[in-house]
Symmetry: D3
Subunit: 247 residues, 6 copies
């Protein structure tokens, strides 16, 4: 039995997901029964000023510690290593998610790969391990997330073994086609069939209520009565919505 | 025998403590026989531009890994969980210090709690664990320190079990009423009876001498003679103070 | 709201629990919705030959990093420190569970404390941290579990701050009165109201089936058909039970 | 380009490999240019008394953190999950090598799976993660290696996603068909084309020399002259061989 | 046999090395057979705006956990501790590299030492451990790299035991006289005899080709054909160089 | 200023130290003001049955990560590498203490070195890192302590750089000539001038009292009155000594 996603998410829906924060999506997923969607310890190394989030479909790539004879064989061809194939397979609104096994002893992404991915319409690169050449990646000015930096390149210790398999990243299982949402708080991998509910829940509901709660807190309302709102506070909120033309 | 502080520190003294750096206070405490006051690995996630330090009295809060039946019971009431009670108990010049057991698998503080604490006169939040929704915490623009970020919220893995007990934070024992001093170098928990000496020592002494030593180093003085100053250098310093109207 | 257990377990039921393995109890608890009951990384340092398991009610004890003035005060009395009080409070069929915050820099239990606990009817000591003097603990020949060994004693780095509070141990929340089951595979903390079901489930069911499955596997049966048994294998099992006088 | 082994090793050669220690094989591989063959931190949890080593061809299995909807789907069939298929695919002289991503939060192998693997002619199980029910595995009395023990079972946190792919284990890349050699010192994964040289090197050479060196050391010979032997010591060794009928 | 460098690098060559990035140098060294030159986990804590890199000859300093009687003896003299001697020994274009054993429990460098080192012509300070008083180090505005921050000072837990010995830093062996290259991506320790080749390789070769590859990638060229360039792309590059006056 | 011991301990005193346990020595040292003498995480990998402890004077040895050119140079001579020189320098009642920087990626001691050290009168080997070939070390049957096992040998990743320098081992500073005491509870490094007091304190005092306390505990005495003994219990003890002919 192959572990795979069978649900497609439209580009329009991806666009709407950009208005949801990683923190909100992560919390909503726990409430929907998906306990393990936020990638632990994977933070933005480069994120363009003014961009609020990055969203796309997961293309996955997996590295293992190299074996000297097999990696030599792999490098004899310029076109056939899984990491190059994964990069060249990127389509509009894809996100490349890389499993190195939390390997901190070499970098697997530099500015050249980042540049190519951007050209192909990719939206972000997520690495459970290290990137290299952060200085030049910052020139490309593209969303790149990782656990750390290492100066050396792939052939120091790793070889790629496959792409578009289910992988691990930041302690989270990532299946090709998962929807990746990344912002300055980190990265969440969302099962595609959950996007609609997450977007709807964020849109209809939370934001107006949250805005009002913050207003009330700034006026001195207590957590006990206003977060979450008790019956009385809910009435107050309904009243406020009417008075301010939201209903 | 209850482990507790029995010494009160006035708001005026807290105000003076703001002029002492975490680094100076931490070093002075070691010299006074308190070896373990600096919290390891707890760094500013949000710190208002232009503010030099945050100072206040510790209110403590403790989480343990949740038990499914007990946490359900806890969430049935809006007013009685220890974490909400701790927050609502905050008074002017308090600092909330949270022990999650260095738990990195969920966030315990977001922008709503931060906003409430600020309203109540709290001065900072210190978490031995993760915060969430850093982006919105930055909108609140308030001193928040932690070991990391996680997208999910408390009920993913934790439940609160008590407040104003002695706790651990960053490898340091923190007793309610300890004085917390936090700046861009991190956080130190100070026994209240030590504040006066720390403030006095910083005020009378070190700063003028340190200023002069830096002047001398910039003129080429050697560490061997000037840091700390040997007898000759001390005379030189006394002379300089007279010549420059400090005595 | 105080986090506490409200269910009592009889000594008879505890006795029956001794026939359930930590592994079975841990798995059953996950199926009952309690995901986090097995203590990670806490293994037997001393376990009497011939004893299969240790069972008892949790008495909890908590240490924090010491503060020099407060620990001095604590040691001025021989009778009032929380760790001594916790030990002296032990009754028949209690297990002492100690939270040091995974502190590996000193030992909190030696042979003297172990000896006293045994005299009082305690069944085991579980430490999320280090023990000391393992050689002499082995002379006492009593079930003691920990994360490691350290030669030094409590006052090197720790002070006790309370007992019979909810604590953490091995990444598990432990509430006073939880039932502790420990064997050579480690330790599980069981909510008291779950014991009956765990004992019943182990007794009625699993053991005979498991015995039969092992017999079949040793004859070459496939996991696909016999573990868990499919419809046909279930009939086979019923047949076997009849033929062997189990029904 | 698929990363795979293309070299077959006969059962006879495997038999001979049993006379080589993990330590010797690991060192020889470094000298042959394979730097990374010894699996770090993976030690025997169960190893039959009197057996000196376990040898076989790697069958690989990979787990990732579970996703709730996909794991549910996986468990609806008894025959199709990758971990069951991997186990049932075991043939004589295979070794099952499991990549859980060093996941310490649940056990993936218990006594039932171990029993089945033994029946099918498997030689050992190697887990980069945890096993469960060590007590009953010891009844099976079969070579099982892991990083630790956890009481819970697979569905607590993991799901299997593939078998006979290249994987990671103990920081080593393992390709299906690699030859696994395991003894009380741990585990080494050997490229199949290297076996002949390793066996030959161990047989012809090292053992007699090493025996003689140990004899000399016990008589007081210095490392400087005898380990490795300098020109004079080599003559001495040749002489000794002649005198003792080895040549 | 003393482990030492015997090759001198001129100040002019050091100047040229400033144009090479840490990432390029680290990768070139792996290709030259030096696998382990990039220091893992040691990142800039302070780096002057506008400065692209820091370069100099390694002066090494080593700390061990203090012994109370010996450290007392050490502090009785102002001029003779190894850490003070190391600092005072700094000459133009030196870099101070400090081995604390990855000790995270006290800071070994503050603003005073940084100031003195800058006056003496030092180019950077690299610490495998913690610094203190980062706020004031930022006033000095000098390249300082470390693994973290701690508020306390040396005598809390450490004592210096030697300088200009071979040491460890970030998992890399550093021998006095090694050439240190540090930029925003971290730090690399280069054997002095390799500098010429690294500088030459970076100058002649890579930069123009890399510039052209980036141009081509931004026009949509594939990694498969252009990175590294295949035969056709190499011709294209030669053509481009001629057309643009580079040859 | 050279950090060194200036106090000699006689072989007779070493012999007496064998009657003190690591746990007692470690605790006494903390009371004497030496807080950091027990080596954390360094446990017996091989310890002869029937031997109670190992005692000797520290000869130290230090490794750093290898540099390819320098290690090649080192291996060109059989007699001059620091690790071989350290081994050959061993005299009666020495203990070899090895600092690898907690490096877990290769083994530095095998059965050959162990055999040589035993011949020369060495008493134990202590490694802050890994040993190799534990199976054959067990044939030598000699006290060897380490943090773990690795199959590979020194030249995989390390080179020795010096011996009889102050080093780190298990988080403890070790100075040549320190007295090493090792038993099944681990290892403690004792400043030589402290041996006499430790031996005396253990001999005169503790053992008889402790024997009596254990007797009383087995009769049901409380920790509150008998450990440590209060005034009344002290009288009781004096009485008991008289009655039993100890005074």
């Amino acid at each position: 039995m192959i572990i795979k996603n069978t649900y497609d998410v439209s580009d329009e829906l991806l666009e709407e997901l950009k208005h949801v924060s990683v923190s909100t999506a992560s919390h909503t997923l726990v409430e929907m029964g998906y306990r393990n969607a936020y990638m632990q310890g994977i933070l933005p190394m480069c994120f363009p000023e003014g961009q609020s989030s990055a969203v796309g479909r997961a293309v996955t790539l997996r590295f293992i510690p190299l074996r000297e004879d097999l990696v030599k064989q792999q490098y004899e061809s310029l076109t056939e290593s899984p990491h190059r194939s994964a990069l060249e397979s990127i389509r509009k609104n894809d996100v490349l998610v890389i499993d190195t096994g939390s390997h901190m002893e070499t970098g697997v992404i530099g500015d050249i790969f980042t540049r190519r991915l951007r050209y192909l319409g990719g939206q972000a690169i997520i690495v459970d391990g290290c990137i290299r050449d952060l200085i030049r990646i910052k020139d490309v000015n593209f969303p790149v997330f990782s656990k750390g930096i290492h100066g050396s390149a792939i052939p120091r210790t790793l070889m790629s073994v496959g792409f578009n398999e289910p992988i691990r990243c930041g302690g989270v299982g990532v299946v090709p086609g998962d929807i990746i949402l990344a912002d300055r708080d980190g990265v969440v991998a969302i099962p595609p069939q959950c996007i609609e509910e997450i977007v709807k829940s964020a849109r209809d509901h939370d934001e107006l209520l949250e805005k009002w709660i913050k207003l009330k807190l700034d006026e001195g309302a207590s957590l006990h009565t206003h977060y979450p709102p008790n019956t009385e506070a809910k009435h107050e909120f309904e009243q406020w919505k009417k008075e301010n033309g939201y209903v």
